[in-house]
């Protein structure tokens, strides 16, 4: 009987060591391929380019903190979209929900920054940003739960509305008439800015330690919420099959609305972190595509919050390192996107070898002989 030279067989199980080994091998091979690419395009030493990449991302205390800050923001958005995704509610409206939270935060900073006591100001900013994100997500949620509308399109449309509202406020609040730029809010008084100076003894003068602590706490919360709570279980069941969930006596509408509300609220909170914690302004690019990148992060991590931390870090690391490569080697930033793409390709590709194995016909014969 003629057998194919190679067959693909699903693995029953795979040991942890082997899982790690496959992925490490994938990264090493991808770095090798990137090295060829770098040398072919630039004729510069790939090792130098890699060194520069690392240097750009974590080369100084300040660069490390920028990388941590950006990682935390991306992680927060990824955590936010995850419960909805696990429920198979395709929330691609993270972008708009972040902006909704950001706009309301900026409004509080502008209008109440000087008049409100700081604790009250922060309370208002946090609560209202969560609410804004929540409302932005629940609107499509209601339509999905009651009339089964397509949430992908709906959340996407909500993004455009949020972007236009942001553009509107960019004009209402612009620093100089006609310029379309708000600039830094409360630059002199710094009111409504998340301040970490009281932690400077621990982390140095420039740090985003509060962002770090808050988002890591959020990560642990999300892990427990999804894995060990009744809510998390209901989300998983609804995601697997709505009919099963209904048969098991789960109120599907309620679960959808509750989960989408949580998802939106965390996105809105991220908007607060962005505006109050780092950019101190709002513009249509404040969300910066993170609402979409977070989807990739969430999927690649298979909804595991700890994996999200790693993948967020990797993406931000590459992005921040890219600026340095562009600056040092006069490489266009597209070059680092190519590198990022190659590495991601290998990482995603390696999942195939984690889930399947290749069986070659000659090895089969050996098995038969044995």
């Amino acid at each position: 009987m003629k057998e194919p030279w190679v067959r693909v067989v699903k693995r029953d199980e795979i040991s942890l060591a082997r899982k790690i080994w496959v992925r490490v091998a994938a990264i090493l091979i991808s770095l090798l391929v990137c090295a060829f690419f770098i040398y072919a395009v630039t004729r510069s030493d790939p090792a130098d380019v890699y060194r520069s990449l690392v240097d750009g991302a974590v080369g100084s205390s300040r660069r490390s903190w920028s990388t941590i800050r950006d990682t935390m923001i991306l992680l927060a958005v990824s955590l936010a979209v995850t419960p909805a995704f696990k429920m198979r509610f395709w929330n691609i409206g993270g972008e708009g929900q972040i902006l909704a939270g950001g706009i309301i935060t900026a409004a509080f900073m502008r209008y109440c920054g000087d008049s409100m006591p700081t604790p009250l100001l922060f309370l208002c900013m946090i609560v209202s940003s969560c609410l804004a994100g929540l409302i932005w997500a629940v609107i499509p949620g209601i339509f999905k739960a009651h009339w089964n509308t397509n949430e992908t399109l709906f959340t996407l449309m909500m993004n455009y509305i949020a972007i236009q509202i942001t553009a509107f406020f960019s004009i209402v609040w612009e620093a100089k008439k006609g310029s379309g730029t708000i600039g830094i809010i409360n630059q002199k008084t710094k009111s409504g800015w998340i301040s970490t100076s009281f932690l400077s003894g621990l982390f140095g003068k420039f740090n985003y330690s509060l962002n770090l602590i808050i988002v890591l706490a959020l990560m642990i919360f999300m892990y427990i919420y999804l894995k060990y709570t009744k809510h998390g279980y209901e989300i998983a069941i609804v995601g697997e099959s709505e009919n099963t969930a209904r048969y098991a006596g789960i109120n599907v509408k309620k679960v959808i609305l509750r989960t989408v509300a949580l998802s939106g609220a965390i996105c809105g909170f991220t908007g607060f972190l962005l505006v109050s914690g780092s950019s101190h302004t709002i513009s249509t690019s404040t969300a910066g595509g993170r609402g979409f990148t977070a989807i990739i992060v969430s999927w690649l991590s298979k909804f595991n919050p700890f994996m999200m931390l790693l993948i967020s870090f990797f993406l931000v690391f590459m992005g921040n390192g890219a600026t340095q490569i562009a600056s040092e080697f006069k490489l266009n930033e597209s070059a680092s996107e190519v590198i990022e793409g190659i590495i991601l390709f290998f990482i995603i590709g390696s999942e195939f070898f984690v889930n399947y194995k290749l069986v070659f016909s000659h090895s089969n014969k050996k098995e038969e002989a044995a």
């Binding site: 008439k177 006609g178 310029s179 730029t181 600039g183 830094i184 302004t281 600056s327």
Partner: protein, 406 residues
């Protein structure tokens, strides 16, 4: 309480000494030890940033700096990334840091507060003087001069066409022909620019009115092309622009309409219809500022120089310009260089039917800071003499803004 008085005196004198030491010029820096940081909003693919990159390269060559003495960061958006980039450059030991986009300014100020010993220079901004920081500076070039001269080139062309009778069908009831302008944003930098262009054009061809349409973006190829096409369809016989791409030029070549560009020559996009472009050379400023660092001199708080110092020019003339254009251009440049001709001569335009006599009124826009910009003899608006960024933000008679707010 004598003792406390003594303490107070001591504290005062100490703070004064510190203040004086701070205000004094910095120590000279050896040329080999100079380190320069540059933050660009784009990269070599974006005309405006490319012009700055050329300026930095010219500075490097004329001062003899090596590659590792200049650290350039590309594609830095107008948000906290600019602050990150600026403080990172300061951490790397740069003594002077430049940023080239309007929205970078607040973030440069934020960084300047943190690094009082590093000089921060921001192009097109307006807050250096009012920031109260010794190490914050603004710079711009007298681009209105090159706008005016590019307007002269356009005016000569219209005059030639009119003489040949080719504009007769385009004239309105008052005998005026309409031209169009694609603007980015509706504030002084753009308004000053198109007014200078319009005045230059009218100096050669008085029977013109202009429509301005804003895009709300500095660089949007498709939108600029679309806007220019709309203006052409509206009956404009010539288009100029204050936006950074060649979108308008390609619309003009397709629509067989004359075009005056910005930043770079656009003859390769509109070989038949491009007349010239108003352009800026940033080399003189970068060279001067870095030379100041080397000498230990202070960098001017507001820097603005024009054609006489080689900072602005127009690009090569297109093949279809009117006869005698080059001679006329040379003549106008001579008059501008010598100070005989002022671009914003108040006898050449009116606002609401009246001559502009003062800018120090209460009802004026923020750019003026309630300062008198009209010269002492009352004959011209002294653009960019009190701050480097353009200040003229009044829409004069003959110009219509088609949309207002961006």
């Amino acid at each position: 309480m004598k003792f406390s008085k003594m303490l107070l005196t001591a504290a005062l004198s100490a703070s004064m000494t510190a203040g004086m030491a701070f205000a004094a010029a910095a120590d000279p820096v050896d040329t080999a030890d100079v380190k320069v940081g540059v933050i660009y909003v784009g990269d070599e693919q974006e005309g405006y940033s490319k012009a700055h990159m050329d300026g930095i390269a010219a500075m490097k060559e004329s001062l003899g700096l090596s590659d590792d003495q200049v650290i350039e960061k590309f594609n830095i958006p107008e948000d906290e990334s600019c602050y990150d980039a600026a403080v990172d450059l300061a951490d790397q030991g740069c003594q002077v840091i430049f940023a080239n986009s309007f929205g970078h300014e607040d973030y440069m100020i934020q960084a300047a507060e943190e690094y009082p010993d590093v000089q921060f220079c921001h192009a097109t901004g307006y807050q250096a003087a009012s920031s109260g920081l010794d190490n914050m500076h603004n710079y711009f070039d007298a681009v209105y001069e090159s706008r005016y001269v590019s307007g002269v080139v356009a005016g000569l062309k219209l005059a030639e066409l009119d003489k040949a009778g080719e504009l007769d069908s385009c004239k309105d009831a008052d005998g005026n022909v309409k031209i169009g302008y694609v603007g980015a944003y509706s504030y002084a930098e753009v308004i000053s620019g198109y007014t200078a262009f319009f005045l230059g054009l009218r100096s050669e061809y008085p029977n013109a009115v202009m429509e301005v349409q804003y895009t709300g973006s500095w660089a949007d190829q498709a939108l600029e092309k679309e806007t220019a096409t709309a203006l052409i369809n509206d009956g404009c016989v010539l288009i100029s622009q204050h936006a950074d791409t060649t979108g308008a030029a390609s619309a003009c070549e397709e629509g067989k309409t004359w075009h005056v560009g910005y930043n770079v020559g656009m003859l390769d996009v509109a070989p038949d219809y491009s007349l010239t472009s108003a352009s800026i050379s940033w080399g003189p400023y970068y060279t001067e500022a870095v030379q100041d660092i080397i000498n230990g001199d202070e960098i001017p708080v507001d820097w603005c120089k024009g054609h006489a110092d080689g900072a602005v020019m127009i690009t090569d003339l297109g093949k279809n310009v009117a006869e005698g254009t080059q001679e006329k251009v040379d003549e106008v440049w001579d008059k501008i260089d010598s100070g005989e001709l002022h671009v914003f001569d108040t006898s050449t335009f009116t606002v609401g039917g009246k001559k502009m006599t003062t800018t120090a009124g209460d009802d004026l826009a923020d750019t003026y800071h309630n300062v008198e910009y009209i010269s002492d003899d009352g004959t011209y608006f002294q653009e960019s003499t009190l701050a480097s960024a353009p200040a003229f933000d009044t829409v004069i008679d003959g110009i219509t803004e088609l949309n207002q707010v961006f």
